[in-house]
């Protein structure tokens, strides 16, 4: 199985750390990624909001490119790209649509009939590498780290196009993080929208939606939010200062890409994971985790001590009796 890799534009900019950590993690797990030569933008929302065929054409160009280098599957970290590529491929089944796209690409439509399959890097990792293999490779478990897994709204939806995990309650990232030793908090907003690309044009929308997500993570007692989407990450991390915190109580909530935590657990140096490129200091999360661990150990120690004391007492009492009898 030849895996083509489609980084997506933001990987060259605001989500460099996602891009870096993805490659680092894949290398660590021995997943070979073939870059699609001279890949281009999928058009994202602006394209499909303008014309489906245009969006289809921009996406298809890359799938054709992947096929050219002999790949049968394309993996991309970005759900927005994922959604566009998958939707394009899905709609190619329709002759009319295929013809239209063919015209835009100035290519015979039949060439578009059988394009490579598309999947998210997350899917690649959990289905092709497998949790057991990953668990086996974990060097430093994320002990004590309580995380809220946030998948974003389009990673699994609409179900008939995405065909991955449960559209309402996905669990693949939960399982992955658990495998890494992290503690996953129940997070009801796994697929609730963060406000997407409206940060620039309608800050109020993002402020409210992302605020709700961060608030929920806070209330669930999470040390950090873990995401799989550049846009979500930007909204939750970079714009964290802009959001409306429910109840007005703001906290510092680090927002990781799941690949960063994966890399870290696999023992990849932080430098290669771009942790320093996160806006909210990731150290906060790890500090909280450490504290949690310490607290738990203290607790256990205390309990142990108590038990010991009790035993000693009993012993004393016993020997006292002995003495008495003597």
């Amino acid at each position: 199985m030849n895996l083509a890799y489609y980084p997506g534009c933001s990987g060259l900019g605001t989500s460099r750390e996602y891009e870096r950590s993805t490659r680092a993690a894949c290398t660590a797990l021995g997943v070979k990624l073939t870059d699609i030569p001279d890949w281009s933008c999928c058009g994202s929302t602006p394209a499909h909001a303008l014309e489906h065929a245009l969006s289809g054409a921009l996406s298809a160009r890359n799938l054709v490119g992947a096929a050219k280098v002999g790949c049968d599957t394309v993996a991309t970290p970005c759900p927005s790209c994922l959604s566009n590529l998958k939707t394009a491929r899905h709609r190619m089944a329709d002759d009319g649509f295929r013809a239209k796209v063919g015209r835009l690409l100035d290519q015979p439509a039949e060439k578009l009939a059988d394009l490579p399959d598309v999947q998210s890097v997350l899917e690649t990792l959990v289905t092709r590498v497998g949790l057991d293999a990953i668990r086996a490779k974990v060097r430093q478990p994320l002990a004590g780290l309580r995380v809220a897994p946030y998948y974003g709204c389009i990673m699994t939806r609409p179900a008939d196009v995405m065909r991955f995990d449960d559209p309402e309650n996905p669990t693949s990232m939960d399982d992955l993080l658990t495998a890494l030793g992290a503690e996953v908090v129940p997070f009801p907003y796994k697929v609730e929208c963060c406000g997407a690309s409206y940060g620039v044009t309608r800050r109020d929308i993002v402020a409210r939606l992302s605020g709700r997500l961060l608030g929920a993570a806070r209330d669930a007692g999470a040390h950090a939010v873990v995401v799989a989407c550049p846009l979500c990450q930007m909204n939750l991390d970079l714009r964290q200062t802009q959001v409306e915190w429910p109840g007005g109580r703001a906290v510092d909530m680090p927002v990781f890409y799941f690949t960063q935590l994966l890399g870290r657990a696999l023992g990849v140096p932080d430098a290669e994971l771009g942790l320093e490129q996160l806006c909210v200091d990731p150290a906060i999360a790890f500090r909280r985790a450490a504290q949690a661990v310490a607290a738990r150990q203290a607790e256990e120690a205390a309990l142990a001590a108590k038990a010991a004391a009790k035993a000693a007492q009993a012993k004393q009492a016993a020997s006292a009796n002995e003495g008495g009898r003597a």
């Binding site: 605001t14 499909h48 245009l54 835009l104 690409l105 709204c153 309402e168 620039v200």
Partner: protein, 186 residues
């Protein structure tokens, strides 16, 4: 509020156009409201999505195409996922945007301006140049203070590339847009 004459507001061609382009059967909607119930952006809508659907059934073209809602839809697919009648509502919203754009009706200029800036960047470089897009957007809207507060947060992270990442196939992409425009004008 004025009385609505259902006969005179009904535009059947519009209904058929939407059904045709979206491949969705609007008559399947029985107004349970689940799309509205789950819509994350409902609070910002001027017409709730379920009412958009209702207005579509009534063939009220102007009401629908002039709404702000169709531009604020985040394409998150909650509506599609939860529709008990398997209607791809998100796709219908998409199609409404297409039709509105074709007729030059845009109730949320800011949004389309940003999208146009985005696509312009793609057309020019083959890939999106983030700084370029924002700059372009600011230039077109004159909203100079957009996200200025974020600059100190993002700048030191060395993520924003100062230069666009152009690709060899640039003109290829440009031609796609060209052909798209020709098709459209035709």
């Amino acid at each position: 509020m004025d009385v609505t004459n259902l006969e005179s507001v009904r535009d059947d061609d519009f209904i058929h156009a939407v059904m045709e382009e979206s491949g969705q059967d609007l008559t399947h909607c029985y107004q349970c409201g689940n799309c509205t119930a789950g819509c994350p952006c409902g609070f910002a809508y001027d017409i709730q999505v379920s009412q958009i659907m209702r207005n579509l059934q009534a063939g009220r073209k102007d009401k629908v195409l002039n709404s702000r809602s169709i531009w604020l839809c985040l394409s998150c697919s909650s509506c599609t996922t939860r529709c008990p009648n398997n209607i791809d509502v998100a796709r219908v919203m998409d199609v409404l945007r297409h039709i509105a754009r074709r007729e030059g009706r845009v109730a949320e200029r800011g949004v389309t301006t940003f999208w146009d800036a985005f696509l312009a960047s793609v057309r020019k470089h083959g890939r999106v140049y983030e700084l370029g897009v924002v700059a372009n957007y600011v230039a077109r809207t004159g909203r100079v203070w957009t996200d200025i507060d974020l600059l100190p947060r993002i700048a030191p992270k060395g993520k924003l590339s100062p230069m666009p990442h152009g690709i060899q196939g640039r003109d290829e992409i440009a031609r796609i847009f060209q052909r798209y425009e020709e098709e459209r004008t035709r």
